[in-house]
């Protein structure tokens, strides 16, 4: 059989393991789609074709020898270019990092994906040093939205959103510090999982904000998210924030009923700064799940402010030497934000970290009586590339600063979230399915249920 763009990772792995399709055919099909469409989408910065073919042949040889293969056998995937991939310089969307020596070893999560049989086909475009919500990159050009190539992918994992939304690969990996998995998922109409802070190892990925950085998968179905996520779980001594919890597989639980779950709509802050499409998407999801209760989240605006302060100051500290030595090699917008971050007085950062603990306690209280919170993933569908402002209720607001207003207060305390795509016309938009810490299984279960009900779906790309 031939690999088709609409095939999920689960279908590819099943066909490869069942000898109905070779891993090499699945890989060649992905490489061919990249060749055909990435000139427009600009989602890839590196295509690792030879490496991918070698890996695919090795899987096919194992199958021919009658050996057991992993649950992702022959599934092509790609990673945001802040993951180390052996032989490539980890550019993290920057010009400066291109001078780094090529990575000697893959990031932990690439190793785990490949141990499960997946095939790395390349590295993906991203906003410079992940300080971005647009997916625009001054050095590599913008990644483009697969549903309308004049629009943003969202960022900073823009290439990840574009590659999966454009069905070039069924799975991509990205990072999320303030929304960088959930925002591109929303704009590109795909599923994205930002796991609990500390759940997935960040070893051998280029950091941004150690206090807030998460890694996670993108896919075109909730089951594929679970498949990739389960393959990547597990402790890792090389990431000091990585949990020592054992594996907690989610795929076996994903089809369990959701009727016993207490699901509420996040109110107050999360119902402000939204365009009608975001209201409509949350409303459709809530209706399908029978959720009517609205829960106010105390301190959400301050949580967003504190996340901003921690981000700008830790980011400034990370890049201080580069700002001193090579300021003209940064994207000016990133540089000027980071320089300002270096000037925030230290007590304000300490207070932001203390507020984080207070806010965590507020959410812990809410999760005593609720299993899931629903909130918009973005205030709107994908803006135009280069768009500076949008008009909300007669008020002009800057696009960049407002794209992540609904994601930041959630990642701030590391809650697990699945962003589900609601296929509105003419463009999709995401809704956050938010669970208590370490309950990715619940968020994935709800996402899967919404998919089965036809409320959430990754639309076929129309822009390519």
């Amino acid at each position: 059989m031939t690999s088709k763009p609409e095939m999920t990772a689960s279908e590819i792995a099943s066909a490869v393991a069942g000898r109905r399709m070779s891993a090499l055919d699945a890989t060649e099909a992905a490489l061919s789609r990249i060749k055909q469409h990435d000139g427009i989408l600009n989602s890839f910065t590196d295509v690792t074709a030879e490496r991918a073919r070698a890996k695919a042949r090795a899987i096919d040889a194992e199958i021919a020898a009658g050996k057991e293969v992993g649950p992702l056998a022959g599934v092509p995937f790609a990673v945001k270019n802040l993951f180390d991939a052996a032989g490539l310089s980890t550019r993290a969307g920057s010009k400066i990092n291109r001078d780094l020596a090529p990575a000697k070893r893959d990031a932990s999560l690439i190793e785990r994906m490949e141990a499960a049989g997946a095939v790395l086909v390349g590295a993906l475009n991203m906003g410079e040093y992940a300080y971005d919500f647009t997916g625009e990159n001054v050095h590599d050009g913008p990644s483009r939205n697969p549903h309308d190539t004049t629009r943003m992918t969202g960022g900073s994992s823009g290439g990840s959103g574009s590659a999966v939304g454009g069905a070039l690969v069924p799975i991509a990996l990205g990072s999320d510090t303030n929304g960088s998995i959930r925002v591109p998922s929303s704009f590109c109409g795909i599923f994205g999982l930002k796991p609990t802070y500390g759940r997935l190892s960040r070893a051998r990925s280029f950091p941004f904000v150690a206090s807030l950085d998460h890694l996670g998968p993108f896919a075109r179905s909730a089951a594929d998210l679970a498949l990739a996520y389960d393959a990547m779980q597990g402790p890792d001594a090389e990431d000091s924030a990585c949990t020592t919890r054992g594996l907690e597989p989610t795929l076996p639980l994903i089809a369990n009923p959701v009727s016993d779950l207490r699901i509420a709509i996040a109110g107050g802050y999360f119902q402000k700064n939204v365009f009608p499409e975001a209201v409509e998407a949350v409303s459709r999801v809530a209706k399908a799940l029978g959720a009517t209760k609205v829960v106010d989240v105390p301190g959400a605006a301050r949580a967003r402010a504190a996340a901003y302060v921690i981000t700008t100051t830790e980011g400034a500290s990370l890049h201080l030497d580069r700002l001193r030595k090579r300021p003209n090699d940064f994207d000016p917008a990133v540089r000027d934000r980071l320089i300002a971050g270096a000037m925030v007085p230290a007590p304000m950062v300490d207070r932001a970290q203390k507020f984080r603990r207070w806010y965590r306690a507020q959410l812990a209280e809410i999760f005593k009586s609720v299993d899931v919170l629903l909130a918009p993933a973005t205030p709107c569908t994908a803006p135009k590339l280069g768009q500076v402002n949008f008009n909300l209720d007669g008020v002009e607001l800057p696009v960049r600063a407002n794209i992540g207003v609904h994601t930041q207060p959630i990642s701030f305390i590391g809650l697990p979230v699945v962003a589900v795509p609601v296929p509105l016309e003419p463009l999709p938009i995401g809704v956050q399915i938010i669970a208590a810490p370490w309950r990715e299984d619940i968020a994935l279960r709800v996402a899967h249920a919404l998919e089965k009900m036809g409320v959430a779906a990754a639309p076929a790309p129309r822009g390519i």
């Binding site: 402010a305 300021p327 540089r335 000037m343 304000m348």
Partner: protein
């Protein structure tokens, strides 16, 4: 006319040995105004003295 934050920006720029070209100054100042406004929103919220910061070092 000098903006209120300019003296502060100059002083911190010197203290951190972090040069700022004149052409960047308006954008740095605008970003700093946003950062300080948001930091003040957190700052004005009273927390008990015993509150620990979120990341706790484990020896």
């Amino acid at each position: 006319m000098a903006e209120p934050l300019d003296d502060y920006i100059d002083a911190v720029s010197k203290a951190l040995a972090l040069p700022i070209e004149e052409a960047w100054r308006p954008a740095v100042r605008a970003n700093l105004e946003v950062s300080l406004r948001l930091a003040r929103l957190v700052d004005e919220f009273a927390l008990p003295d015993e509150t620990e910061p979120a990341p706790i070092f484990t020896a």
